[in-house]
Amino acid sequence: MLKGGVIMDVVTAEQAKIAQKAGACAVMALERVPADIRKQGGVARMSDPKLIKEIMAAVSIPVMAKCRIGHFAEAQILESLGIDYIDESEVLTPADNAFHVDKHQFKVPFVCGATNLGEALRRLHEGAAMIRTKGEAGTGNVIEAVRHMRKMTGDIRALKKMSESQLQSYAKKERVPLSLVKSIKTHQKLPVVNFAAGGIATPADAALMMQLGCDGIFVGSGIFKSSNPAKLAKAIVQATTHYKEPMILADISKGLGQPMKGDEISTLSTKLAERGW
């Protein structure tokens, strides 16, 4: 049960233990954090199963791992390892230019990124059990996650005023069943949780995303690229609980050391959020 919690990217069993100790509700087992994938370039793939197994053995909280978009064989391998969730992630190099993984073929739950409602609905229709903003991973810059969350909320609200024929053309344009669109219109929320991801680097970032209506937080490069990971990790967990309390947030945010340096979005050569269809 991940709601209201923080999921942290880790690249070693040691980091996984630090994350668990800080109060993470799950960890994402990776070979490289997004900031390093960005810097080093090349094709980014599923992590070594040996590393994933080591991380699974090191902690008692759920462990997630990433597969490439559309790479159902990587997903099958991850499922066979007994991983708790699979993130079909734009942070890795996509493997299929037309299709995402048919997630209904799996028992393990999937989380997928989305920049707007249409994208989220396509992922849900394919069987995703959890959605997250794409943000812009590895930048330590929260602006894209904010953009995606606001867009999602706005898109859901816009359904309210749509007529039957407008709903039909929206469903057609987004290539999703009309029944799914109608159910979102009625409930005014996604049927699954929507976490914030991509660029969250400080407790204040986490509080911002929670106030915008996210159900929880993914922190990638932010923690282990900072000068004091254990302290920052704990602070982000606390901020995710006390997101509505500026006085507590001020206290939590004191003396955390240097956060990751981060990137201005306009300087990026590759925008990961544009991957996926």
Partner: protein, 193 residues
């Protein structure tokens, strides 16, 4: 005025519990700090990650206040991770801190990993209709003290139990439309008054 029931809102599915309470005509109060505990007549500790919830309980010094609440006779209901937080003993993680308010020994993640999560109809003592119980990385209650009543079992293991003013389920009734277990908890609160 509707009766106020606290829902521990540190992490986990506290919103779902609040929804059920609202449906039953109560006023849910999200509990994040000790000051929030003042007016409540009952407390729910939701499902979530028990390591996360225990840590935040300690960091925001809620532990002692919840124990005080219990001493005053205020009923507490824990689901899944909440059951672990309330247990006297966490059998396979003995070092993990807990509130120790119910005499049970519990095993964390006892059914296996996420993929071993399941839903099953169980029968509850005194209820004709089966209850759709959702188990997510659920714990198993290994041993119970002599005053613990078993209200439901799954595969031979107790999954819904009660001791005095503490109610515990290892599954998640807040994720179903069935409100009978929350009603049972409300009855405990009414009797405690």
């Amino acid at each position: 005025m509707p009766i106020q029931i606290g829902v521990l809102a540190l992490q986990g599915d506290f919103r779902e519990h609040s929804e059920v309470l609202r449906k039953l005509g109560c006023r849910p109060v999200e509990i994040r700090k000790k000051e929030d505990l003042k007016t409540i007549k009952g407390l729910i500790i939701p499902g979530g990650e028990s390591t996360t919830i225990s840590k935040l309980l300690k960091e925001f010094k809620l532990n002692q206040n919840i124990i005080e609440l219990h001493k005053k006779g205020i009923p507490i209901y824990g689901t899944c991770a909440g059951a672990i937080v309330l247990a006297k003993d966490i059998h396979n993680y003995p070092k993990q801190p807990s509130l120790g308010l119910i005499n049970i020994s519990i095993d964390r993640n006892a059914y296996g990993r996420q993929i071993e999560s399941f839903e099953e109809n169980i029968s509850i003592r005194g209820e004709k209709k089966p209850f759709p119980a959702i188990f997510i990385r659920a714990p198993i209650i290994k041993e119970i003290g002599k005053n613990v009543e078993i209200l439901a079992k799954q595969n031979g293991n107790p999954v819904l139990i009660k001791e005095d003013s503490i109610l515990v389920s290892t599954f998640h009734p807040e994720l179903t439309e069935d409100t009978r277990i929350h009603k049972m908890f409300l009855e405990m609160i009414k009797k405690a008054k």
